[in-house]
């Protein structure tokens, strides 16, 4: 446990910065605000938005990263969603995909359900957990300079999976709603990657 840090970065600006000049980046989003944030930055065929299956985001990213080792896969999720899939950090660490980056937009709260405090808001440090699990990089970003450096390092190849915890302000912004049809989202990404849809 650490002294909780409640963030001051603006989540939509953070996501827009990370997705600027995205090139071949593939993006998987966790349910709730991270899906809206990524959609607000500009819908893209290389995005797969989750609307449920809480705890899935990083592991969908793992399966995709393993299937497409030549592409960087970025998971954008929230602290609550990643906390539900905490064991997945151990699974990802031993799988050790060099092309998987997890970005946790950490506002320390469950924003979708009424801003109740989350474990990170009460002192659980996700970056320390990822570091202890053996991630190649695990960084907490609290200010703009750190975000710039994170945005650049994400582009570079690493020796294993990386996790960036970005401390963002707890706030519910106007929703930017991505498509909700899972079959459509699946087929859209597969078509984007050149697979024939049956």
């Amino acid at each position: 446990m650490v002294t909780p840090v409640i963030g001051s970065l603006e989540r939509r600006a953070v996501v827009a910065r990370l997705l600027r000049d995205r090139d071949g980046l593939l993006v998987v989003t966790g349910l709730g605000s991270p899906s809206y944030d990524v959609h607000a930055a500009g819908d893209h065929d290389g995005n797969f938005y989750l609307w449920g299956a809480m705890g899935a985001a990083a592991l969908v990213g793992l399966g995709l990263a393993q299937a497409k080792p030549d592409r960087t896969v970025m998971v954008v999720t929230g602290d609550g969603e990643q906390l539900m899939g905490l064991g997945g950090l151990a699974t990802i660490a031993i799988a050790a995909p060099a092309n998987l980056v997890i970005v946790v937009l950490d506002n320390g709260h469950y924003g979708e359900t009424g801003m109740q405090r989350s474990h990170t808001g009460l002192g659980i440090d996700l970056a320390s957990i990822a570091r202890a699990a053996g991630f190649a990089g695990a960084v907490t970003v609290t200010e703009q300079a750190g975000l710039e450096s994170a945005a650049q390092s994400i582009r570079e190849r690493a020796s294993g999976p990386r996790l960036y915890v970005v401390k963002v302000r707890p706030e519910n912004l106007p929703r930017s709603l991505p498509p909700r049809d899972g079959v459509h989202l699946k087929n859209r990404l597969r078509t984007h990657l050149g697979f024939v849809v049956a």
Binding site: L59, Q66, V183
Partner: protein, 184 residues
């Protein structure tokens, strides 16, 4: 601990018993399965060993079975087929995550070894053993049960096609009678 008892009826008749884990591995490889994820189980131990020795298949050890449902969806997004191995107790861990597979119509192939249904000595295995097939049916996953090694191989062959060609979510239920009694 090796607990698989090969108990093929053909074996009792003096014919060589069917090496079903090897046959399942062969069927899955024939159908281009490229990722395998698992929570260890005695009944799956041989199949797990075969996959771990295969450099062309990425194998993921899971902390809980639901992780494998998410990995399978990601693998399919990236154009790869996968298989998820677990014991019946693990099915209970998967239920909400299976909504990803069903609502996205993601091909999903689960091989589930049963506990709690045949000569079971551990009462703690019984509730989830009873709930395994109804729980899968409730969330929309089709179950195909196999009671003999020969039937198991054919069932998996059928399930592979249902999953990967017809976009179905399929769990092959490997009966405890087929697996044999756990040795202590």
């Amino acid at each position: 601990m090796r607990t698989i008892a090969i108990d093929d009826r053909a074996g009792a008749a003096g014919v060589e018993p069917l090496d079903w884990p090897k046959e399942l591995y062969r069927v899955l490889k024939q159908h281009d399965v490229r990722q395998m994820s698992y929570v260890p189980d005695a009944g799956h131990s041989r199949l797990i060993e075969l996959f771990l020795a295969d450099a062309d298949v990425v194998s993921n050890l899971l902390t809980t079975e639901e992780e494998g449902v998410a990995i399978a969806a990601g693998a399919w997004l990236g154009g790869q087929r996968s298989v998820l191995l677990m014991q019946s107790s693990g099915v209970g861990n998967c239920i909400n995550m299976l909504s990803l597979a069903t609502i996205g119509r993601f091909p999903l192939l689960m091989l589930v070894t049963m506990r709690g249904e045949w000569a079971e000595f551990n009462p703690w295995q019984v509730p989830m053993g009873l709930a395994t097939e109804p729980a899968l049916a409730a969330i929309g996953v089709r179950t195909l049960r196999a009671d003999t090694p020969a039937d198991l191989v054919e069932t998996v062959r059928s399930a592979v096609t249902l999953a990967y060609d017809a976009d179905q979510q399929v769990a092959v239920i490997i009966s405890q009678r087929l697996l044999g009694t756990k040795q202590w």
